[in-house]
């Protein structure tokens, strides 16, 4: 049970795994005889092989090599063994950064994760204006992130920001938003949630439209209330999508960069320095590519595990 709508019943996920029966296999052989000495295919693959070679496969290997090297872009790189990792683990900022990132991921789960689910459930019950709602919900996703964050910087301003002004109007605040170590991270999460909820909501809406209505009818005949129908029908039916979105969100929020970069530059008191921001600082402010690569490799390892789980799950569901 997945949300993914694919053209003409192609099996989602199991790419290229169409098990050809005998006839197509013979056909494949004739096609191969005609084109498939591999040379024509190779010509078509040139753009893919060159660009993936240069900019995907090579950098992955290069990251690992770099993490054991010291390089300054001028002299030949020197091998330094585990020095980069040693330096990294002795940097107090690393532990702050890990804590910050974990806090961002956790807050995004608590604040941001339920929003699209609830929005999608509400919108799917509408009988009118469904399209208008979808467009409005998606609008924040269309705004380029940098512009959106520059806007939020205006809104968060402690003195003449929109938020404090509105709250002042109803007799609350002023709140420091980005200016205090306690509220800076939640403020980033709020901005990130606003920016990202739209696309996730549309995915949930697609999933909701795939829930068989008979299930609701059966539950209704059994006397289940609306809440019980949500709990016993809708949520179990969405379970797969919810899990996938959960993983995607964790993978995405682990790589948070633009929010702290534009809104706080890691402050106040390093309370919003994220892993990627630290990598950026090591590499492009300190010129310490080795340590930056070492941290990248560690991040990549953690994310690869999550991605592997994600791909496994999507694969499993699409075949079942």
């Amino acid at each position: 049970m997945t949300t993914v709508q694919l053209p003409r019943g192609a099996p989602p996920g199991r790419l290229g795994a169409r098990r050809p029966d005998a006839a197509p296999r013979a056909r494949l052989r004739t096609l191969r005889a005609r084109y498939g000495n591999g040379f024509a295919a190779l010509l078509f693959l040139v753009p893919l092989l060159v660009l993936f070679g240069w900019f995907a496969w090579w950098p992955i290997g290069k990251s690992v090599i770099l993490s054991f090297q010291q390089t300054n872009l001028v002299d030949a790189p020197t091998w330094v063994g585990l020095d980069n990792f040693r330096f990294l683990f002795h940097d107090a900022l690393l532990w702050t950064t890990l804590k910050n990132t974990a806090w961002f991921v956790a807050l995004a789960l608590v604040i941001g994760f339920p929003v699209p689910i609830m929005l999608a459930m509400l919108v799917s019950e509408l009988r009118r204006l469904g399209g208008v709602f979808r467009v409005l919900i998606y609008l924040p996703v269309v705004v380029p992130p940098v512009v959106a964050l520059m806007l939020w910087r205006w809104f968060y301003d402690p003195d003449f920001g929109l938020f404090n002004q509105v709250l002042d109007y109803v007799g609350l605040g002023p709140y420091p938003w980005l200016q205090s170590t306690a509220s800076a991270m939640p403020s980033l999460v709020l901005a990130a949630t606003w920016a990202n909820a739209g696309s996730t909501t549309l995915i949930y809406l697609a999933a909701l439209s795939g829930v068989p209505t008979e299930l609701y009818e059966a539950a209704e005949l059994d006397g289940a209330s609306i809440w019980r129908r949500i709990w016993h029908v809708t949520l179990p039916q969405l379970r797969g999508v919810i899990l996938v979105m959960l993983l995607l969100q964790i993978i995405g929020t682990f790589q948070v960069f633009t929010e702290p970069f534009i809104l706080t530059d890691g402050g106040p008191e390093d309370s919003t320095v994220s892993i990627l921001l630290l990598i950026y600082r090591y590499a492009f402010l300190d010129g310490d590519y080795g340590t930056a690569a070492a941290l990248s490799v560690l991040l990549a390892a953690a994310l690869a595990v999550l991605s592997a789980i994600y791909l496994r799950l999507t694969r499993k569901w699409s075949t079942s």
């Binding site: 993914v4 709508q5 053209p7 192609a10 989602p12 790419l15 056909r27 096609l31 005609r34 084109y35 591999g38 295919a41 078509f44 693959l45 753009p47 240069w54 900019f55 995907a56 090579w58 950098p59 992955i60 290069k62 770099l66 390089t71 929005l119 509400l122 019950e125 467009v135 409005l136 609008l139 924040p140 996703v141 705004v143 380029p144 940098v146 520059m150 806007l151 205006w154 003449f160 929109l162 002004q165 109007y169 696309s199 549309l202 995915i203 697609a206 209505t213 609701y216 209704e220 609306i226 129908r229 790589q255 990598i279 590499a283 930056a292 990248s296 991040l299 991605s307 791909l311 999507t314």
Partner: protein, 294 residues
Amino acid sequence: MSDELPRGVISSADRRRPSVRWTLRICQPLLLLAVAVAGLGPILWTVKGALSPTQELLKDPLRLWPSDVQWGNLASAWRELSLGHYLLNTGVLVVGCWFFQLLVATFGAFALSVLRPRYGRFVYHAVLATLFIPGTTSLVALYLVVLHLPVTGGSIGNTPWAVWLPAGAHAFNVLIMKQFFDSLPRELYEAAQVDGAGPWRLFWQIVMPMSGPIVSVVSLLAVMSAWKEFLWPMIVISSPDSQPLSVALPRLAETAQQNQVIAGMLLSIIPPLLLFLVFQRHIVRGIGFTGLKG
């Protein structure tokens, strides 16, 4: 959206019950209001900000509309911040990214799905494998690669190529394109082959004409994501003159007049906004298509 549900959790019988009816009647306008404020609010604020004197933005932030609409501000922002120049830079980057993403995805998927060479499986799995490792984690290595290309040598740093070419190495496009090609009937290729069509004609005259939907979905996703790109162009395009709007704006915000910067922000919102409104159906469908975030 035409695929509106005949019913969801709430049935017609429920809707006749007064408690449900009134809850819906009260909740739905509130929801619409909330969604409109969250979705349209910031965009309208940008419009207001671009037309207001900076002083007024600071003194009276709650004001709904500027006391004195400054249309001239748009022109002076365009002139003084050379917004047109940065917009052109963005445009050049977007078009190139779109081209290379489409080139790699269509050619690559065609080879893997239709021509199916024996070594195709290896290539395919190698492409798949890159999905496990998000691009941001090889940022540093990628930067060094761009400064010194492996095998051929040479640097494409500080040129549009540094943004165009890495954009092409986008595994997800190849996957959904291949998935689509896999679903096309192979009998057609056979027929074309009997008629003596070579791979090149097969690609242009059989496969491409049938791939309109997937090409438009991949194109839209490519253009939208290239327009949003920030971190990578900021790293590889070091000279301020060649920077795209998204990279230039935060830099300009430090020195320029604030209402002019907001005019620049508005300018950067408008093209993707128009694109979205025009192709709204494709994009909304595209998300269902790919199951991926835009």
